[in-house]
């Protein structure tokens, strides 16, 4: 098994006619993703690489289950609300630099429709050898029994690659997104991995800013029986400076790597000091 997406997921690409949308549609199909349609308002009737393009999500409601969004930030709110109202689930928002007030609105609408949002500003989600809705380099992934949840992009690739090289394949890898306000979080995904028969252990990759890791630590204590291995980026980050991701900022005493590591350790989670230590910690836990 895998979580959220698998070989049966039928995907629509919103923004399929743009450069990013076109390129990644091709790469996702090469990985085996079943891309059934694209949506770009005003370009309905055309096609991209043989995939039919429609003007609206309403027209593809019967064809597709899930949506991946590549539209530019100023239009992303509209695209996401359209996907949610059209019943797509999950909705993966690759777009970065979406205004926070727009994200708040998207997440609220998603909650009321029961839609799972991944992102924004995420590399996406990939269930190994089954389905990829995202922009991550496909070749580093290997099928196996490790679940991976991360707030970062390239750091995720680094760790997936280290796992694969050490014969530790993955079930599903999820990038939560680097923004302050995102859809699915550590807690929802930990629960899904806990319930997934194939997943034996979960790697949780956090970073400075916010308190998502602290809340996850509390949740793990009460609800998660599978081993969890953690890594937190940003131990050396100074307060008040945004480290690339809009969400990676230490404000006052909140959001430091130290506080997060302590919280996770108190829930018996092994913390890697360096990304390269993760495979060993995983092996010793399963």
């Amino acid at each position: 098994m895998a979580i959220i997406i698998d070989e049966s997921t039928r995907v629509v690409v919103q923004g399929i006619t743009g450069g990013q949308g076109k390129f990644h549609t091709r790469v996702m199909r090469e990985y085996g993703t079943n891309v059934v349609a694209g949506v770009t308002p005003g370009k309905g009737g055309g096609e991209v690489d043989g995939i039919p393009v429609y003007d609206s999500i309403r027209e593809v409601m019967e064809l597709a289950d899930a949506s991946i969004i590549f539209v530019p930030a100023p239009f992303a709110r509209d695209a996401a609300l359209e996907a949610i109202s059209g019943g797509m689930d999950p909705v993966v928002i690759i777009t970065e630099h979406i205004p926070v007030h727009d994200s708040i609105e998207i997440m609220d609408r998603a909650v009321s429709h029961g839609t799972r949002i991944i992102g924004p500003n995420t590399p996406g989600i990939l269930s190994a050898d089954k389905c990829k809705m995202g922009v991550m380099p496909s070749h580093i992934f290997k099928k196996g029994s490790i679940g991976l949840i991360s707030r970062s992009g390239t750091l995720t690739y680094e760790i997936v690659d280290a796992l694969s090289r050490n014969a530790l394949g993955q079930t599903t890898t999820v990038g939560l997104g680097g923004d302050p306000i995102v859809g699915l979080g550590f807690i929802e995904l930990l629960d899904l991995f806990e319930a997934d028969n194939e997943t034996e252990a979960v790697v949780l990759i956090g970073e400075i800013g916010g308190n998502a890791e602290e809340l996850a630590a509390e949740h793990i204590k009460q609800n998660i029986s599978k081993p969890v291995i953690g890594y937190i980026a940003g131990r050396t980050a100074p307060p008040g400076k945004t480290m690339g991701h809009a969400g990676a900022i230490i404000s006052g005493s909140a959001g430091t790597a130290k506080a997060k590591i302590e919280a996770l350790q108190s829930a018996n989670i092994k913390i890697a000091e360096k990304p390269g230590d993760i495979p060993e910690l995983v092996k010793s836990s399963i």
């Binding site: 750091l155 690739y157 000091e273």
Partner: protein, 377 residues
């Protein structure tokens, strides 16, 4: 993006929030006359400017001018004073100071409203020692206007009554409008003063605007000077569109992807080194981007080595390699490169005499050794 007090007050006034009358001056000569005693407030984007001597008072034009001379020479936490807000001085004897604020709340995925009767310069101490004195309320996500009854409930909870209560609630609603209209992630009045004779007025103002929303807040950018918030190197990096943060150490770090760069800094530190900066060249960086990244990090004095950590997904290693070779750095480099077009990239670098690592940990260790002089290039 943080706004200066004067700019935030302009926005508040547009929304109908009472603020003291004042003018902004960029030099002592710009102040011509005074109708009344004034407060002279340095416009710098750091907290604690009052305690640092950045706020003064004057009763007549001569005093005001000499105070301005002083203020324009002042540096507050390293920031030069370039603008001073000259405001009508209020009689604050016996006045009550409230705190009103709205802030983005990540965990709740909404905006949280805050109000306190214990406003003023010690609000942060109140927040950590007596958090019960600050009333908080998570608002319905996506709310465009604050319901007056919600604002009144908060005002009643902090102990206000009668006309004062309704007026403060009204200001709270207007502050929320300012937050929504201008895509703020923080809007604060601290303090909102209630004078002895019942006048209510915002004597300080704070707003942070969402950087991601600046495309639809262009009028706010008109008179913004970024030289204050960023060091000269950070300004150069912003020009190139690179995410750069200056740090204290002597090992420059360049990578692709914010998380990986943060992890690189941490790894340098684990091996006993001190990173000089955070620099994310971003996904899909070209040779030109890489050259610019090297140019930016090399601006810092006393660099001992440069650690370059690339895991190419959409970034191509040959592009990165070409950028390095074209720049010809004078400072010793520790290079790690993996991913898309790795072989092509390594070939280019090896032809130019560079050693390339596969493991980021080994490479970080090497960068630290280069910096300490334990290894030569």
């Amino acid at each position: 993006m943080k706004l200066h007090e004067y700019k935030a007050k302009e926005i508040f006034a547009e929304q109908g929030i009472p603020v003291p009358s004042g003018i902004l001056v960029k030099g002592p000569e710009q102040l011509k006359e005074l109708q009344h005693p004034v407060a002279l407030k340095s416009q710098v984007l750091v907290g604690g400017r009052g305690k640092a001597g950045g706020i003064k008072f004057a009763d007549n034009i001569d005093d005001a001018k000499s105070v301005l001379e002083e203020l324009f020479k002042l540096k507050i936490k390293g920031l030069a004073v370039k603008q001073v807000l000259v405001e009508e001085k209020l009689d604050l004897e016996g006045a009550q100071e409230l705190y009103l604020g709205f802030v983005e709340d990540r965990a709740a995925k909404t905006i949280t409203a805050m109000m306190s009767a214990a406003g003023g310069i010690d609000i942060e101490q109140v927040a950590s020692e007596m958090p019960e004195k600050i009333i908080k309320k998570q608002l319905q996500p996506g709310l465009k206007t604050l319901n007056p009854y919600e604002a009144r409930e908060m005002a009643i909870q902090i102990g206000l009554k009668g006309a004062t209560m309704t007026k403060v609630a009204d200001i709270m609603c207007k502050l929320f409008n300012a937050m929504i209209v201008h895509d703020a992630v923080l809007a604060e009045i601290n303090p909102l003063v209630i004078t002895k004779d019942g006048m209510i007025i915002a004597t300080d103002a704070k707003m942070n605007i969402d950087d991601n929303a600046l495309f639809r807040q262009k009028n706010l950018l008109k008179d913004v000077d970024i030289s204050e918030e960023y060091t000269p190197i950070e300004q150069k990096a912003r020009k190139y569109g690179l995410a750069y943060v200056e740090l204290e150490g002597d090992i420059a770090v360049i990578g692709c992807g914010a998380g990986l760069v943060m992890a690189s800094l941490d790894t340098i530190k684990l091996y006993g080194g001190e990173p000089a900066n955070f620099l994310d060249v971003g996904g899909g960086a070209t040779a030109e981007n890489m050259k610019q990244a090297l140019e930016v990090v090399a601006m810092k004095d006393n660099l001992k080595s440069i650690f370059i950590n690339i895991f190419g997904g959409i970034t191509r290693c040959d592009e990165i390699a070409n950028g390095i070779v074209e720049f010809e750095p004078k400072i010793p480099i520790a290079l790690r490169m993996m991913g898309t077009n790795e072989d092509e990239g390594k070939k280019i670098l090896k032809e130019h005499g560079y050693n390339v690592f596969d493991s980021m940990e080994d490479c970080a260790e090497y960068a630290v050794k280069l910096a300490s002089g334990e290894e030569g290039r």
